[in-house]
């Protein structure tokens, strides 16, 4: 017996409905920018809204987004995928190898293929043999780095400029572009340092300046995933095997095949995430440089409540906090940002007459305010931990609102309807 606890504004498709909601989102975005602007005035920095911060947030968020979308396809088909990290490592290695040999776009293609291969292995183990999905994921996370290390030791002889732990540098990156006219115009406004207006221009500027073509594709994949999963018969079938494979089976859905699709696509997305790291950001495969992004993607997926746009929001938050952690003064401003954000939540909670929640949020707001007021610098490690802490908090606070696919993680065997 499951009680449906969806927000009334969401229909069965998980889609956000109606013009009203759109206006509300716009208003919330405006308030968010306003908060950023105010915090910046107090802290005396412009890094929270500068176009360089936002452009780097985009670059850092994209692989997280891709890993999260990968997780989405797998978990919507009812297979938990904690092997995303391993698949991402495979994608990164093959991306670097092909990028070095044949150029960045081939790198992307082979990265996707490399991730998909490990996705397929996960599918064979979890779908055909119905073994524990977590165990298989752990195995992928051990197997993938070991396999690529083996390949490195064989292929990257000293004369290639690579080694066991890293590939040679790829020759060129994916091309970047500035949106003509708009980019310059936004940069001009940003430089004026007008309150709010320049901040808005800076944020938008991050999306039109020095933009990689691959990033455009990645962003396009968000609505595309949504369309594929919620607007096509294929997507309905895929989601149905994640909700109730036995019912789907009785209606003639090829459950096994759909699960294979979901998990393999999941690997392909994770592979693309790895390739992205090479052909857009780093230009090289280095052991350990995926740095847990597969797991952060998983976190973004949970944060985003198994919905592509939610994943985008989660990846955005995590990418933004990573971008800030690379900027010396900005981390400290983040404390004040969190304090103000919590205060706004507390006010909203009072408006909703949830006084207990308001009290807790206000107390934390005061705590962060004092932290901000009494400290000069914030250790980087605190920022590194942020996505994970946020995910734990979201899970702890909003378990009732989060809804994973009903049959996620449950092994399925054909003809065992019950």
């Amino acid at each position: 017996m499951t009680v449906d606890v969806r927000e009334p504004s969401q229909d069965m498709t998980g889609r956000v409905k109606g013009w009203n909601t759109a206006t509300r989102w716009m208003a919330m975005a405006a308030i968010a920018v306003l908060i950023l602007a105010i915090v910046q005035q107090i802290e005396g920095t412009n890094q929270l809204t500068s176009s360089s911060t936002w452009s780097s947030a985009l670059r850092l968020g994209a692989p997280i987004l891709l890993a999260g979308l990968g997780g989405l396809f797998s978990e919507r088909a009812g297979i938990v995928n904690i092997g995303l990290e391993g698949m991402m490592i495979a994608g990164m290695w093959f991306g670097a190898w092909a990028g070095w040999q044949y150029g960045p776009w081939t790198g992307v293609a082979l990265g996707v293929a490399g991730g998909a291969v490990f996705g397929l292995i996960h599918a064979v183990a979890t779908v055909t043999f119905a073994v524990d999905q977590i165990v298989s994921g752990v195995a992928i996370n051990i197997l993938a780095p070991a396999s690529v290390r083996f390949l490195s030791s064989v292929i990257y002889t000293p004369d290639t400029g690579g080694g066991i732990t890293q590939s040679p540098r790829i020759k060129d990156f994916i091309k970047t572009f500035d949106v003509p006219w708009l980019s310059n115009w936004l940069v001009d406004i940003e430089e004026k340092a007008w309150f709010f207006v320049s901040d808005l221009a800076g944020i938008l500027g991050g999306f039109v300046t020095n933009m990689s073509w691959l990033t455009v594709i990645v962003l396009f994949l968000v609505p595309f995933s949504w369309w594929l999963l919620w607007k096509t018969a294929w997507g309905l079938r895929l989601r149905s095997v994640g909700e109730n494979p036995w019912a789907a089976e009785s209606l003639g859905v090829a459950v096994i095949r759909m699960k294979y699709w979901g998990v393999t696509i999941s690997g392909a997305f994770a592979g693309l995430a790895g390739a992205y790291l090479v052909v857009v950001s780093q230009g090289i495969y280095r052991e350990g440089s995926t740095a847990g992004r597969g797991f952060i993607g998983l976190a973004a997926l949970i944060f985003g409540n198994y919905n592509p746009f939610g994943v985008l929001a989660g990846a955005g938050v995590f990418g933004y906090s990573q971008a800030l952690s690379l900027r010396a003064g900005a981390v400290h401003a983040l404390l004040l940002l969190v304090a103000v954000g919590l205060l706004v939540l507390a006010v909203y909670a009072i408006y909703q007459k949830k006084f207990a929640n308001a009290g807790i949020q206000a107390a934390f707001a005061v705590g962060f305010y004092f932290w901000w007021a009494t400290s000069d610098v914030v250790a980087n490690q605190i920022i590194t931990a942020t996505p994970y802490v946020i995910t734990l908090l979201v899970l702890a606070m909003a378990t009732q609102r989060l809804r994973m696919p009903a049959a996620d993680g449950i092994p399925y065997r054909k003809g065992e309807a019950h």
Partner: protein, 371 residues
Amino acid sequence: MIKRIGLSLIAPAIAVAFAVGVASLALVLVDVNPFYAFGLMWDFATTSTSVASIINRAIPLYVSAIAVALGFKMGLFNIGVEGQYLVAALFAAWIGAQFTIWGPLHTLIIILIAAGVGAAWAGIAGYLKITRGVNEVVSTIMLNFIGFSVIGFVLGQIIIGGDSLIQSTPLLPESAMIPGLNWIFTLLGFSEPRGTELQGFLIIAIILGIAYRFLVWKTRFGFELRASGMNPTAARMSGVNPKRMVLYTMLLSGGAAGLVGLSTMLGKLGAFTQDFPRMYGFTGIAVALLGRNNAVGMALGALLFGFMDRSALILDLNDIPKEIVQIIQGVIVLAVVIAYEIVNRWLQNREVKAASDATKSFSEQAEEVAA
């Protein structure tokens, strides 16, 4: 009985054989004779020094496997052993270095601190599960990463202040260290290991294994643990408090996890350093799966992994990619669970067939009687 042991050995044997097969294939592809490679590994691993080293490598894996198995027994997946043992080792080393007292007591205090910190770190996940319904897999993954940040923060910001090149806790006083066991080799008439000291933590690991077996099979708690793992609903109906079980199991599992790093710390390093050995937590999952959560099985699994890690060194010296060892380990994890699944299905089918055969002859008899 013998048949049962034989059956339970089939799956791991298939898995190891399959993994060795995959590795052989990889070796053939890079023009190395697999027999030559495995022969080298075997020859190298059968010296006293290697045996001591293999056991030393097996100890943390065994302890880690016990921590994982405690969760497995009741259907909980503690994937956070990695973070738990690192955080625990850090705090145990840090606090343990602050004072000097009578040796064994000092060691005991460090062990208790480590177990306590490990239990506390795992307890967060347990608490979140019973109060907020947060899935322990996700929360322990997140806690792993938070733990890594905590370690970086404590090592880099608090203990050193970010000045030193190699970040480390202060060295533990000699009283805290556990003496080695190399005399066992001489006692048994073998040559003494050179350059390696068989770690005294071995005894604690063995005690832990016995305690694990006793706890799971001979106590009421162990019974409730297994009952909850096999059929949570039935266990609840018969009066087992599921929330309490979750919390206790996570605490116990985390407590055992806290000890994973101690064999290296108290037997060799004497401190928690930035490059403290990692991955024991994840490899422990592999060992627990290989050993089927059985105290003896896991010991054999840990020794197998220790053997592979040790003998990888000789491959490197002979220009054979030693990464095949990691490939074998990764394949084993996957192959062993698949093999168990296949063996189980085969057993089930055989039972079904036996049952249908039995009823068939019965119904034939009935027909004869009727005729």
